[in-house]
């Protein structure tokens, strides 16, 4: 391996066509039916994560619309109470666990390695394992809805309601199991992302030159690592309470219902930032591209992300202001909750400064980002309001809250995400999405969103609690609810139009070329869609905007000497990305899939009988052994 600086846009030591072909064959994913269960390449796995997450998004969104239809008029009987309760539980759980986290992970898995100039992620097989676990968990969860025994204790699943006595049957068991699946999947992805970012960056991409999206992915991954254990602990305790009769949460025998709330929200609040953070990264990616100028306040933006990551862990009690905890302690959490407004404010104004006076291209990705500004800032302001304890005592658990968190989640995460999809789609599929449909979809979604969720603020103030399947006519909530329901149809129309656009453009979209937007980051240096090995040569980076810095320049320094007959990646140092070593990545295999099936059998079997724990344990151990069976990369040396 050597680092070569040369003086032509083409590297000096160009590969011969046979060598390129061999490189392609080395990184090729297997084909055929069995082959579907074997690939480990980061882009294949990333794309699967994103697509699967969107399937769950549309299913959960449909539930949202059905709930809105039930609430359209007072005393409606479109849905039975039991079904409505299952719907909001599945909707909330699926949106948070099966859509928002995995989709963000998926985008990070797809984009980050290419952005940092790597050929794959650090642990490709683990990546594949994480995906199958997610797929199985999500499918079982939605399956339970079809079979009519979905959980109905809400997405935060408070005990004792979620205990065996008040939620008999399989529902809550399915919920805890699904949580376990997602935890495993999210943790594998997080570890993967952290190591890839810290160790596989292209030479010269020091921490201070890392694209902001990569920073966002890094902070997100660290948050996952620290937040998930709390919910792993709590859901395991709940499983034990339910299946083997322990008493962590049963008050009659000295258990503590509030313990659940502390553990759940210690995870649950950071979770919100885990969802938000990559979206912030997407915005910081899109704004420079559509103004063709470097972003203002790179360092401030990085520090804001990191600060949000830390402060996000100090807020959980603001979900518990009505539980009768001591005033003084709660005051601390009130202050901490409000403090999060500072890093958010810094980011918003850095972006405004970046846009200021620039020649902005108002294309669909940017439109979605501008939509973010309106919705997210509004949601942030209501967020500061509900952090004021006396006010929270009135609006907690009402539709005001439903409005607030949809403003933050849809405005803060889903809008930038869709912008990001429009932005990266050409890289993923080699074709552009249609601009005109894109713009129409934006306006439908934007207007539909506000018509749906804005009236809910008023409903909450007028006393409408959340999670109610019906309400009496004389309470006077009918008109605004009808309005919200009509809005939700428009909103759904906007999302569906983007879906249609994505499918249609697969065949009909204009060919994109390598770099349709004039972007500065490395993923656009590859062909669209990228070849199996991402970058033919690992680039060498000398600034924050590698492709812009290369413009007009004749030279393009690259790393040469990586072999093309096995999956080699370049390992670099954590801070300065100095080349350190070459690592050989494992190739495609079916074992991660089989391990995922073995582990899933164990997780699900526990609902039937505790002894399935052993089945899962030994099954997973055996298949892991096969998976890790020593390869001999040195053999053909």
């Amino acid at each position: 391996m050597s680092v070569t600086s040369n003086s032509g846009q083409e590297p000096i030591v160009a590969r011969t066509p046979e060598e390129v072909e061999r490189l392609g064959a080395t990184w090729q994913s297997p084909k055929g039916f069995i082959g579907w269960f074997m690939p480990v390449n980061q882009r294949v796995i990333g794309r699967r994560f994103v697509l699967t997450a969107f399937v769950f998004f549309f299913l959960a969104g449909a539930l949202g619309v059905l709930m809105r239809i039930q609430l359209m008029s007072p005393e409606n009987d479109f849905l039975s109470p039991d079904l409505y309760n299952q719907f909001f539980t599945v909707h909330g759980t699926a949106m948070m666990f099966l859509f928002a986290i995995p989709v963000m992970e998926g985008i990070a898995i797809y984009v980050v390695p290419m952005m940092v100039g790597a050929r794959d992620m650090a642990f490709p097989r683990l990546n594949a394992f994480g995906y199958y676990v997610y797929l199985i968990g999500g499918t079982v969860f939605f399956g339970s809805l079809l079979l009519g025994f979905a959980p109905s204790a809400g997405w935060f699943n408070y005990v004792p309601l979620a205990g065996k006595e008040y939620s008999p049957g399989l529902g809550v068991g399915i919920w805890t199991t699904m949580i376990t699946f997602i935890e495993v999947s999210a943790l594998t992805a997080a570890v993967e992302i952290i190591v890839t970012i810290l160790k596989l960056r292209a030479p010269g991409m020091t921490l201070a030159r890392m694209p902001l999206f990569v920073w966002a992915a890094l902070v997100t991954a660290f948050m996952i690592v620290f937040a998930m254990p709390a919910v792993i602990a709590s859901s395991s305790m709940l499983v034990l309470d339910r299946q083997v009769g322990t008493h962590f949460f049963t008050p009659e025998t000295g258990g503590q219902p509030l313990l659940w709330q502390h553990l759940f929200w210690f995870f649950g609040h950071p979770e919100v930032y885990i969802i938000l953070m990559p979206a912030l990264g997407i915005i910081s990616t899109i704004i420079p591209v559509f103004t063709q100028r470097p972003i203002f306040g790179y360092t401030a933006l990085v520090l804001s992300l990191v600060a949000t990551g830390f402060v996000g862990f100090g807020l959980w009690v603001h979900h518990m202001f009505t539980t009768g905890l001591p005033q003084l302690g709660m005051t601390f959490f009130m202050a901490a909750s409000a403090m999060i407004a500072i890093p958010q404010g810094i980011q918003v104004f850095c972006w405004i400064a970046s846009l200021w006076g620039g020649r902005v291209r108002f294309e669909t990705p940017l439109l979605y980002v501008l939509g973010f500004f309106v919705i997210f800032v509004a949601g942030g302001i209501t967020g500061v309001m509900v952090a004021v304890i006396p006010f929270d005592l009135q609006v907690h658990d009402t539709f005001f809250l439903v409005a607030h968190f949809h403003y933050v989640l849809i405005g803060g995460a889903v809008f930038p995400l869709i912008g990001g999809i429009y932005y990266w789609y050409p890289k993923m599929f080699g074709r552009m999405m249609d601009e005109r449909l894109g713009k129409i979809s934006f306006w439908l979604a934007f207007i539909g969103f506000n018509v749906t969720f804005f009236p809910m603020h008023q409903l909450g103030l007028e006393g409408m609690p959340r999670r109610i399947y019906t309400y009496l006519g004389e309470l006077g909530w009918g008109d605004l609810n009808l309005l919200a329901t009509l809005g939700s149809l428009v909103l759904a129309g906007g999302f569906l139009l983007s879906l249609f656009n994505a499918v249609w453009s697969l065949w009909r979209g204009e060919p994109a070329g390598d770099d349709p937007w004039g972007s500065p980051t490395l993923e656009w240096a590859t062909p669209s869609p990228p070849p199996n090995y991402n970058h033919e040569y690992i680039p060498i980076v000398s600034g924050r905007y590698p492709l812009w810095e290369r413009r007009g320049q004749a030279s393009q320094p690259v790393v040469t000497g990586l072999r093309d007959d096995r999956r080699e990646v370049l390992v670099t140092s954590v801070l300065d990305a100095e080349p350190q070593a070459v690592a050989v990545m494992p190739g495609p295999t079916i074992w991660p899939f089989i391990s995922a099936v073995a582990a899933s059998t164990g997780f699900l079997g526990i609902l039937y009988h505790p002894s399935f724990f052993l089945v899962g344990f030994f099954g997973a151990a055996a298949t892991f052994t096969m998976w890790f069976w020593p390869r001999r990369p040195w053999r053909d040396d």
Binding site: E75, P81, D82, N85, S152, A153, G154, Y158, P160, Y166, E252, G255, P257, R293, F296, G297, A300, T322, T323, G324, Q327, T331, M334, A335, A338, I342, G345, I346, V348, F349, I352, A353, W356, G357, V374, V377, A378, I381, T382, V384, M385, V388, I389, P390, F391, L393, Q394, H396, D397, L461, E462, G463, P465, R466, R467, I468, Y469, T470, L472, L475
Partner: protein, 318 residues
């Protein structure tokens, strides 16, 4: 399902107590500040985008950008946060201070209705009722919030913010109505299938009327006055109603459903879901699952004559 003569609202924007009025004012204040901030941010964004429309870029200088971020992203949130902490803490103290005089009511969250137990100063029981809390106007009422099943939350938007009822602990709250009236409240922590219809009324009466009401509630049930009422009482005892309901003075002490000793004095049935009229009561007894699917009362099938007698008996329980 119309609640004739009952309060039509449970809006926190129509306060009837000092606490609720404070919070409503807080809301209006925050609404003004919040709207101003939103408008300012969007205005900044708008100007930023407009300035780029000419043929040349007109970016902000580094210094200008820095000042913009400092003013908008650091200074403004700091001031707002400081203000809100000060207001939040002082208002929190005022609202949270439970007075140490006034009637004591134990509010017990059931599936899915409210049991109300009036206690005297020594903690002895005066009277038990359900779903309709009477309070004296202008006097604080101390609440002890109890649940033996799942978590509920006690909320009367016009009078006070919510406090949860958590099994294994007793939370405290208080309310004080400043004017006479009927205020609606509703459970606001999801508690299972009929969370939606777990509501109640708070009736604020002048203190003398309240005292009368309370001493009436403390008495056992009326004796039947007619043969039809007598027969109704028999039906009540024979039809299994007693398994779940208590009528003080009769050998009926069930605990699953509300105490019916003074049922006829209440305005509503089924946790403020339907008005307490003879028609609704008959409909409820014959098919409660239709009104409130999943609730814990089974339907009772009986001869029309028996039902009429039962309704007459229940109607006499004033």
């Amino acid at each position: 399902m119309l609640l004739q003569g009952c309060s039509q609202v449970q809006s926190s924007l129509d306060p009837a107590s000092r606490s609720a009025a404070l919070i409503a004012n807080l809301w209006w204040g925050m609404l003004i500040v919040g709207t101003a901030i939103l408008v300012a941010v969007l205005l900044a964004l708008f100007i930023a985008l407009r300035r780029g429309r000419g043929p040349v870029e007109r970016p902000l200088s580094a210094r200008g950008s820095f000042l913009l971020v400092l003013a908008g992203g650091v200074a403004t949130p700091m001031v707002v946060i400081l203000a809100m902490i000060v207001v939040g803490v002082s208002m929190g103290r005022e609202i949270g201070d439970r007075p140490d005089s006034g009637p004591i009511v134990e509010v017990i969250g059931r599936l899915w209705w409210w049991e109300l137990r009036y206690l005297d100063e020594n903690g002895d029981l005066i009277a038990t009722t359900a779903n309709e809390m009477h309070v004296p106007v202008g006097q604080p009422v101390r609440l002890r919030l109890i649940s033996e099943n799942v978590i509920h939350s006690f909320w009367v938007p016009q009078l006070q913010g919510k406090t949860d009822l958590i099994p294994g602990q007793v939370n405290e709250s208080w309310i004080e109505a400043e004017r006479a009236g009927v205020y609606r409240g509703q459970c606001s922590e999801y508690c299972g299938q009929q969370h939606a219809l777990m509501s109640f009324l708070v009736v604020a009466d002048p203190p003398e009327e309240f005292e009368q009401w309370l001493s009436r509630q403390a008495e056992p049930a009326n004796d039947p006055q007619s043969s039809q009422e007598e027969r109704g009482q028999q039906v009540f005892l024979e039809q299994g109603c007693v398994g779940c309901h208590a009528v003080r003075g009769l050998s009926a002490a069930g605990e699953i459903g509300p105490d019916l000793t003074h049922l006829a004095s209440r305005r509503t049935l089924a946790a403020a879901t339907i008005p307490n009229t003879k028609g609704h009561l008959g409909g409820w007894i014959t098919d409660p699952q239709h009104v409130k699917p999943g609730n814990q009362m089974p339907s009772t099938v009986m001869e029309p004559g028996d039902l009429q007698a039962l309704l007459a008996f229940l109607g006499s329980l004033e």
